[in-house]
C-alpha cells in the first residue's frame, strides 16, 4: 500500500462519495460562493418576469439610450431593455447548458455503458463515436444549427450531438475500469447479472467522473451556444440570449461597449462558476487530489 492508498483508504475510497463531496463543498468557501452565484443565476432565470421588464419589446425611438428608470442598463439598437434581455438571457444559457449536460449524460451513459459491457456492440458503437469525434465539434454544431430551422431545440441538439461521443468515450473507459474491479467479479459470482449488475454495481461507480464531465459539458455548451448566436446561426434573435446580445452589440462595441460587456461578463461568470464547480467536484471525488507531493 502506498501512502496515497492509505490516505485514500482513511478518506474513503469510493463509497459515500456524494455525501463526502457535499461535506467537502460545504467546507470550501470558494466553492460555496460559486454555488451561491449559480443559484442566483438560476433564480434569475426562474423569476425573470418578476425582476425585469419585457425583453422583446422594441422601441426604436429610444434606441441606444443610456440607463433609465425603465431600463436599468440602457437600451439596445432596437430600443430593447438591455437589463431585461440580460436577465432573460440567463434562461437561454442555463437551459442550453443544463439540457446539453443532461442529454449528453443520458445518452452518453447509456451508450457508454453498453459499449463498455458488450464486446461486439461496443466495437460498433465506438467506431461510430470515433467517426463523430473526427468531425470538429463546433463545425458539426454550426452546420447542424445553420441547416436546420433555427430554434432553441435545434441549438440544444446541435451542441449535444458532438458532446455525446465525448461522454460515451469517458463512460466506456470508466466502465472498462470498473468492470475489472474485483467487486464486479464478486457480484457476477453471486449471481447478479444483466441490468441489476449494471444498475447496482457499474452505474453508481461510473457517476463520479460522469458528473464532472457533465459540468464541463454544461460550461462548454453555454459557450458554444453563445458562439452560435454570435455567428448568427443560433436561436431567433428575438429570444434574448447573451451570445445574441453580444453579436448585436459588436457593431456598437466602440461607441457602446457596455452592450457587449454586460452579457459578456454574465456569460463568463456563469461559465466560470460552472467550471470551478466542476473542478471542485472532480477534486472532491478524487481523494488523490487532496494530498499532493511537492518537489
Amino acid at each position: 500500500m502506498s501512502v496515497y492508498d492509505q490516505v485514500s483508504a482513511t478518506r474513503g475510497r469510493h463509497g459515500g462519495r456524494i455525501s463526502a463531496a457535499a461535506g467537502y463543498l460545504a467546507a470550501n468557501p470558494a466553492t460555496a460562493i460559486c454555488f451561491g452565484v449559480l443559484l442566483i443565476f438560476v433564480l434569475m432565470a426562474v423569476f425573470a418576469p418578476l425582476i425585469a421588464g419585457d425583453p422583446v419589446k422594441i422601441d426604436p425611438a429610444e434606441r441606444l439610450t443610456g440607463p433609465s428608470a425603465s431600463a436599468h442598463w440602457g437600451r439596445d439598437h432596437l430600443g430593447r431593455d438591455v437589463f431585461a434581455r440580460a436577465v432573460y438571457g440567463s434562461r437561454m444559457s442555463l437551459l442550453v447548458g443544463f439540457s446539453v449536460a443532461a442529454i449528453a449524460t443520458v445518452f452518453g451513459v447509456a451508450i457508454g455503458i453498453y459499449a463498455g459491457m458488450s464486446r461486439v456492440g461496443g466495437a460498433i458503437a465506438m467506431r461510430l463515436v470515433d467517426a463523430m469525434m473526427a468531425i470538429p465539434a463546433i463545425l458539426l454544431a454550426i452546420a447542424f444549427a445553420a441547416l436546420m430551422d433555427a430554434g432553441i431545440l435545434t441549438v440544444i441538439i446541435a451542441i449535444s450531438i458532438p458532446e455525446i461521443p465525448r461522454m460515451v468515450r469517458l463512460v466506456r473507459s470508466v466502465v472498462l475500469g470498473v468492470r475489472q474491479q474485483p467487486y464486479v467479479a464478486a457480484a457476477i459470482s453471486i449471481g447478479t447479472g444483466g441490468l441489476p449488475l449494471v444498475w447496482r454495481h457499474i452505474l453508481p461507480n461510473t457517476l463520479g467522473p460522469v458528473l464532472v464531465q457533465a459540468t464541463y459539458a454544461c460550461a462548454s455548451a453555454i459557450i458554444t451556444s453563445a458562439v452560435l448566436s454570435f455567428l448568427g446561426v443560433g436561436t431567433s434573435p428575438e429570444v434574448p440570449s447573451w451570445g445574441g446580445m453580444m453579436a448585436d452589440a459588436r457593431s456598437f462595441f466602440r461607441i457602446h461597449p457596455e452592450l457587449m460587456v454586460y452579457p459578456g461578463v454574465l456569460l463568463s461568470l456563469l461559465v466560470l462558476v460552472v467550471n470551478v464547480l466542476g473542478d471542485r467536484l472532480s477534486d472532491a471525488l478524487d481523494p488523490r487530489k487532496m494530498v499532493r507531493g511537492s518537489v
Partner: protein, 313 residues
C-alpha cells in the same frame, strides 16, 4: 513502423466512410434548395431544373452519395455552387492562412501552457498555482470572440501595434505574415493554453506523485531536473494527447477567429459556405477537417514513441 502507419491508415478508412456518410446526410437532409439559390434572382424554373440536373440534385440520395464519394476518392470534391470553382481549389487557396494561424497558435500555446502547467504543479496549491489555474479557468470561460474583440480594441485600434484584420501571405515575407496573425493567434492561444496548462498540471501532478519521482528525489537530483527530465517527459503523453484533442477545439476557435479577424482561411470558408448553403464546399471542408484530425491523431499516436519507450516499435 511503416506497417503500423499503414495499418492505422487502413483503420481510418471505415471511420472516414462513416464521417462522409454523416456529413453527406446532414447536408442533404436539411431544408433549403441549393439549385434555387444558385439560379439567382431572376431565374425561371427551367433554369433551376437545369442546375439541379447538373448537380445531380434530382437523383436519389444514394446515387448522389455514390457520385460524390466516387469523385471524392479522386480528390474531386465537386464545384462550389457559389463561386463555381472546384472545392479542392478553394481549400487549397485557403490552407496557408489557416495553417500559419494554427502553427503560430500551437507554438504560442505550448510555449505558454507547458511552462505554466509545470510551474503550477511544482507549486501545487500555492498562490502561483492558484493564479495560473485561475487564468486557466478564465481562459475556458471567456468566449474566444470576446477575447478577440478586446485584443483588437487595445492592440490594433488603440495602440495600432497590429493590423485590425486581414492576413498577409507568406509571399510578403515571414515577419509580415507573423505580424498579421499575432492577434488572432493570441486570442486562440489563450483559450487553448488554458486547456493545455490544466492538463499539463494534472499530468505533472500525476507524474510527481509517481514512485519514480520519489526515487529521483532520493537520488538528490535538483528541482529542474526532476520537473523537466523526469516528470515532464513522462507527463508527455497526456499533454500530447490533449494537444491532439485540443486540435478539434482549435478548429472551432479558428472558425470564429478567422471571422472576427477576417482571415481568408478554411474556417471562414466553412462559415461562409454554411450560411450560403454551398453544399459541396460544406461537405468538402468538413471532410477535409476530419481527414486532418484523423491524420493529426495518427501523428500524435506516433509521437507517443518519443515520450514513452514502451510504445516504440
Amino acid at each position: 513502423m511503416l506497417g503500423y502507419v499503414l495499418g492505422r491508415l487502413l483503420a481510418a478508412i471505415p471511420i472516414f466512410i462513416l464521417v462522409a456518410i454523416f456529413i453527406f446526410s446532414l447536408v442533404h437532409l436539411t431544408p433549403g434548395d441549393p439549385a434555387v439559390l444558385l439560379a439567382g434572382d431572376n431565374a425561371n424554373p427551367q433554369q433551376v431544373e437545369k442546375i439541379r440536373e447538373r448537380l445531380h440534385l434530382d437523383e436519389p440520395l444514394i446515387v448522389q452519395f455514390g457520385i460524390w464519394a466516387g469523385n471524392a476518392l479522386q480528390f474531386d470534391l465537386g464545384e462550389s455552387i457559389y463561386s463555381n470553382k472546384p472545392v479542392t481549389q478553394l481549400i487549397a487557396q485557403r490552407i496557408e492562412p489557416t495553417f500559419v494561424l494554427a502553427a503560430v497558435t500551437l507554438f504560442l500555446t505550448v510555449a505558454i501552457a507547458v511552462p505554466l502547467g509545470v510551474i503550477a504543479a511544482w507549486r501545487a496549491n500555492g498562490w502561483i498555482d492558484r493564479g495560473i489555474m485561475a487564468f486557466a479557468v478564465l481562459g475556458f470561460s471567456v468566449p474566444v470572440f470576446v477575447i478577440a474583440y478586446l485584443l483588437v480594441y487595445f492592440f490594433a485600434v488603440s495602440l495600432r501595434w497590429f493590423p485590425v484584420q486581414g492576413y498577409k501571405p507568406l509571399s510578403n515575407g515571414l515577419l509580415t505574415t507573423l505580424h498579421s496573425v499575432t492577434l488572432p493567434s493570441i486570442a486562440l492561444a489563450l483559450v487553448f493554453a488554458a486547456l493545455i496548462a490544466r492538463v499539463t498540471r494534472a499530468a505533472m501532478l500525476e507524474a510527481l506523485s509517481e514512485n519514480f519521482t520519489r526515487t529521483a528525489r532520493a537520488k538528490g537530483l535538483g528541482t529542474f531536473r526532476i520537473l523537466v527530465i523526469h516528470a515532464l517527459k513522462s507527463a508527455g503523453i497526456p499533454v500530447i494527447t490533449v494537444i491532439g484533442i485540443g486540435f478539434a477545439t482549435l478548429v472551432g476557435g479558428v472558425v470564429v477567429t478567422e471571422s472576427v479577424f477576417n482571415i481568408p482561411g478554411i474556417g471562414r470558408l466553412t462559415v461562409d459556405a454554411i450560411t450560403r448553403r454551398d453544399y459541396p464546399v460544406v461537405q468538402g471542408v468538413i471532410l477535409f477537417f476530419s481527414a486532418l484530425l484523423i491524420l493529426i491523431n495518427l501523428l500524435i499516436d506516433l509521437s507517443y514513441a518519443l515520450f514513452d519507450p514502451r510504445v516504440k516499435g
